[in-house]
């Protein structure tokens, strides 16, 4: 074996060992959840009782519905607020672009836990206006998803020539509303999808706001039920992970495909900026 081949073999061994060990660390807890949630502690064999509780336990079922509705409301409010604003800024007020980016990425630096401390008074107002319903969380969740949604939409808008499209549409007699809804929006469909998916995944996993403001969302109930039935909590946890994983994997396939086609035009980003800040701050939030 030449030294070169020896080095090659060493590298392969290193790669296999590292990937297998790290892979095991990530796989074992997930498999344990499956095993734990289907184990029959009173007898032998397997039982789907804990999984059945996902639909039969009224508290858990209610919280799943609450969280799903919250996810939809958050996506709607996020898109309504962010999309026209970002397009408008590109077209008419480019000098706002930097401050807009700064504020949209600010929630990465101000942890949700800090926001919830400062939001107590705002929430009192929301309760006064809309009543004491968990759906007031929508307003707070939009802040939470802001950095991720902003990045997704920004990437989509950067990939197309917004001013030229707008000028073409305007010269054909389109108004600004038409430019935004019928010319620009259809061109950033993938970005809208990415922003929506990541928002849904974040809302379904959110615990901090909901638990400290005492609303029974999915994660809060999972935590609550663990005292009574740990298997139910583990089953619900695994279900919510799998759901979020499916969403995020679809997302990465969709955006990966797009990147593949636009590889020449996409400028490489400095380390950290795009991928780094994306997941930061949410893990464990």
């Amino acid at each position: 074996m030449t030294p070169r081949q020896a080095a090659r073999a060493r590298l392969t061994t290193f790669r296999v060992v590292v990937l297998v060990l790290v892979g095991l660390f990530f796989l074992v807890p997930l498999l344990s959840m499956l095993d734990f949630s289907t184990r029959n502690f009173t007898g032998t064999g397997r039982t789907g009782a804990a999984w059945a509780l996902l639909v039969t336990d009224p508290l858990l079922r209610g919280s799943i519905i609450t969280s799903l509705v919250l996810a939809v409301l958050t996506v709607v409010l996020m898109l309504v607020l962010l999309v026209p604003t970002m397009i408008w800024v590109r077209l008419r007020v480019p000098w706002v672009a930097r401050p807009l980016e700064f504020f949209c990425l600010l929630p990465l630096t101000v942890p949700p836990l800090v926001l919830v401390v400062g939001l107590k008074n705002v929430v009192l107002w929301l309760n006064f206006l809309f009543g004491d319903t968990p759906y007031v969380l929508t307003f707070l969740y939009v802040v939470l998803v802001l950095p991720y949604a902003y990045r997704a939409l920004d990437a989509g808008l950067s990939a197309i020539d917004v001013p030229t499209l707008a000028e073409a549409a305007r010269s054909l007699g389109a108004g600004w509303a038409t430019v935004i809804t019928r010319v620009v929006v259809p061109n950033i469909r993938t970005a809208l999808l990415s922003a929506s998916f990541i928002s849904i995944a974040l809302v379904l996993g959110e615990f901090t706001f909901a638990s400290l403001l005492n609303y029974n969302t999915l994660q809060v109930v999972i935590n609550l039920q663990s005292k009574a039935n740990a298997q139910e909590s583990v089953a619900a946890s695994l279900a919510s992970i799998l759901f979020a994983a499916v969403l995020l994997i679809i997302l990465s396939v969709v955006s990966g495909g797009r990147r593949g086609r636009a590889v020449a035009s996409a400028a490489p980003l400095p380390t950290g900026t795009a991928p780094a800040a994306a997941p930061a701050g949410t893990a464990g939030s």
């Binding site: 734990f36 502690f41 800090v114 974040l202 583990v234 701050g281 464990g284």
Partner: protein, 285 residues
């Protein structure tokens, strides 16, 4: 003149709705925390800040810093090795796409669900802990180490490692194979290449990533909240105590002071991160 500035400012009205939203739900809470930390009973006061030096609160800060630093280091080293194992494969291979997708999901996978994943694995009746006790004679099922600081370190690593992989892959991509070949042509051994070329080039990116991971762990709340149900060994859990039991240490505004402490630490770390990223961006093109 007035007319012209009116013409210039009118398009800016388009960003007003989003601006108002940001003001209420992002800026007001942040400012509330900043001001509230310096007040008590409506009067300026340093009492809340002084209370941060209180024995158990100061210990919690030290614990928070320790947990964040250790998990950043573990996540950083393991994540960097995993990223290297991936990057030495084919750049457009299945492995790379799989790992980036999975890491994207896992880095988001924090919170309550993650706590239950580890309770199902290593908790009192966990799958792995039961097996280890039966086969290797350990006493994991009768121990509560998972619910203390050591447990937090292990559980946090689960989202720190994937985050590191995502953050560090672009930096490793920036290392050109030509540099290695050039070094080899000049007679450098593998060790010399890493000592004098590879590691110095990667150092800023690595340190930057460590800071990002530190901030990520420091601000994490949900995982700790679900895992640690009694006591407040770390700062985020002190904030929970301060929020849920109105008056802590005889002070109403103590939560603001704790939140301010968290902002200061996270902001300082993130500024360091930004500076390092800028340094890295100089040579990664």
């Amino acid at each position: 003149m007035a007319r012209r500035s009116g013409v210039r400012l009118r398009p800016a009205l388009g960003v007003l709705p989003f601006g108002v939203y940001l003001l209420i739900f992002l800026i007001v809470p942040t400012v509330t925390v900043l001001i509230g930390a310096f007040a008590e009973n409506g009067r300026p006061s340093a009492a809340n800040l002084a209370a941060l030096a209180d024995g158990s609160v100061a210990t919690a800060l030290l614990n928070s810093v320790a947990v964040s630093a250790v998990t950043a280091l573990i996540g950083g080293v393991v994540g960097a090795l995993a990223a290297y194992a991936v990057v030495t494969g084919r750049p457009d291979g299945v492995l790379r796409r799989l790992v980036t997708s999975v890491c994207g999901v896992l880095a988001q996978f924090g919170g309550v669900t993650l706590a239950f994943a580890f309770i199902a694995t290593l908790g009192i009746s966990g799958v792995v802990s039961t097996w280890l006790d039966a086969h290797l004679g350990t006493s994991l099922t009768s121990s509560v180490w998972l619910f203390g600081l050591k447990g937090l370190v292990l559980v946090y690593s689960y989202f720190q490692i994937p985050l590191m992989v995502i953050v560090f892959l672009p930096a490793l991509d920036g290392i050109r194979p030509q540099w290695r070949e050039a070094a080899a042509n000049l007679g450098a051994t593998g060790w010399q290449y890493w000592r004098y070329v590879g590691l110095p080039l990667l150092a800023p990116a690595f340190l930057g990533a460590l800071l990002l991971l530190f901030a990520n762990a420091f601000a994490a709340y949900a995982t700790a909240a679900a895992l640690v149900s009694q006591g407040s060994p770390i700062i985020p859990l002190w904030i929970r105590t301060a929020l849920t039991s109105e008056v802590v240490l005889g002070r109403q505004n103590f939560a603001y002071a704790l939140a301010l402490e968290m902002i200061v630490v996270v902001a300082a770390v993130m500024i360091g991160y930004t500076l390092l990223v800028r340094r890295t961006a100089r040579w990664i093109r």
